[in-house]
Symmetry: C2
Subunit: 186 residues, 2 copies
DNA sequence: TACAATTATTCTACACCGTAGAATAATTGT
DNA sequence: ACAATTATTCTACGGTGTAGAATAATTGTA
C-alpha cells in the first residue's frame, strides 16, 4: 500500500497541479463513492500526495468540509418567477434531499456552520416561492422551520440507515403533500 | 494523569462492583455533563477501571450506546387515556426533544438502530394520542413522518450548534402549533 | 481437598485519526 | 548572487476503538 517516497520540497515546474480545486473535486467524488467523509490521509493518497500537503490549501479539515458545503449548496433548485409554487417547492425539497443524501457529512457541516451560512440558501429560495401564498410573517416562519427541520431529519435518517432499502427520497411525497395541504388551508 | 497500575486479574471479593448498570449510569452522566459521547478510555478512567474492562460487559461501543438508548427512550411522555390530544402531543414532543438534546449522540444511535428499535417507542405513543382525530391511515402516516423527522431535524440542529443561545426547545411551539392546525383541519 | 474451568480484570499493541512542526527544494524577488 | 517565499514530504504526538494475551480470583467437580 505505501509506496512512493516522493522527493521532498516544492515540486518542479507547473506540472501535477495540486490546488484547492482539485482537492475539493476529489474530496467530493470520494464522499459520493465511498458514502462517507474521507480521512485526510485517504484523500491525500488518492491524490498521490502527502497528507500534510492538504493543509497548505485548507487550515483544517472543517475548513475543507465547509468549502465543499458552500459550493455544493448552490446546486439546489432555483425557483423561477413563473413557477407554480407547489411544483417549485417539490423541486426545491427533492434537490435538497438528494444533495444531502449524495454527500454524507454535508448535513452535519451545514448545521455546524449555520448563522447566515449556506443553510440560508435553502431559506432564501423557499422564501421566494412562498410569496405566492401571502402568508403572515409568523405562519411563514413556522412553515419554514417545520419544513427545513423535517428535511434535515429525513436526510439524517437516510444517512444513518445507509440505504437499507426501507428508506428512499420518494417517501418525501406523502408528508410533503400533507404539508402543502396545510399551507393551502392556512 | 496516568496513575494507578492496579493489580491484574479478577479482583477479590464482591467489592467495587463494576457491572453493566454502573457502566451505563456513568456513561449517561458523562453524556449529560460533557455534552458528548465519552471515549471508552475516558469512561473507563472515570470508573477507575481499565478501558478493556468495559468490553467484558458490552461487545463494542455501539452495543453500549444502543443499550443506553433503549433504556432512555422509555422516559418520554406516556399519553394518558383522558388526555387532550393537543396537550399530550405537546408533552410527548417536548419530552422527546429534551431527551435528544440532553444526550448528544442519542439521536444518531437511535436512527442507526431503527427497524422496530427504540424509535418505535415514539411512534407507538404518537399513535395512541392521534386516535382522537380519526384520521385516514394515509393522513396519519404522513402526519407521523412529518413530525418525527421534524423533531429529529430540530434535535440535530440543537446538537450541532451546541446551545449558541440562538436555538432552544421553546422554538418548538410555533411550528408545532402550525402542525396541530394542519391536523385539525384535515 | 486438589485442581480444572470459568470469570473479571489489566496490559500491550495495532491501525486508524487530525494535525503541529521541522526539513527540504523549487520559484520568485531584489 | 542570494534572500525570501512557497509547496511539498517526513516525523511525531496524542487521541480513537478494540483484538489478544496474561493474570488472578472464584466456582465447579472428582
Amino acid at each position: 500500500m505505501i509506496v512512493k517516497g516522493k522527493k521532498r520540497g516544492r515540486p518542479s515546474g507547473k506540472s501535477s497541479e495540486l490546488s484547492a480545486q482539485v482537492i475539493l473535486d476529489k474530496a467530493k467524488s470520494l464522499m459520493r463513492n465511498e458514502k462517507k467523509v474521507p480521512s485526510i490521509r485517504s484523500l491525500a493518497s488518492s491524490l498521490n500526495v502527502d497528507a500534510m500537503a492538504i493543509y497548505h490549501y485548507f487550515n483544517n479539515k472543517d475548513a475543507l468540509l465547509e468549502s465543499i458545503t458552500t459550493s455544493l449548496i448552490e446546486s439546489i433548485y432555483q425557483p423561477q418567477v413563473n413557477d407554480d409554487w407547489k411544483k417549485a417547492l417539490t423541486e426545491l425539497c427533492t434537490s435538497y434531499l438528494i444533495l444531502l443524501d449524495s454527500y454524507p457529512g454535508l448535513l452535519n457541516t451545514l448545521l455546524s456552520m449555520e448563522g447566515t451560512g449556506p443553510a440560508q440558501v435553502f431559506v432564501e429560495r423557499f422564501n421566494i416561492l412562498i410569496k405566492a401564498l401571502n402568508l403572515s410573517k409568523e405562519a411563514q416562519d413556522n412553515a419554514l422551520n417545520l419544513l427545513v427541520d423535517y428535511l434535515h431529519g429525513f436526510a439524517l435518517a437516510l444517512n444513518c440507515q445507509g440505504d437499507e432499502l426501507l428508506l428512499h427520497v420518494d417517501q418525501l411525497t406523502g408528508p410533503l403533500n400533507f404539508y402543502c395541504a396545510a399551507l393551502e388551508r392556512n
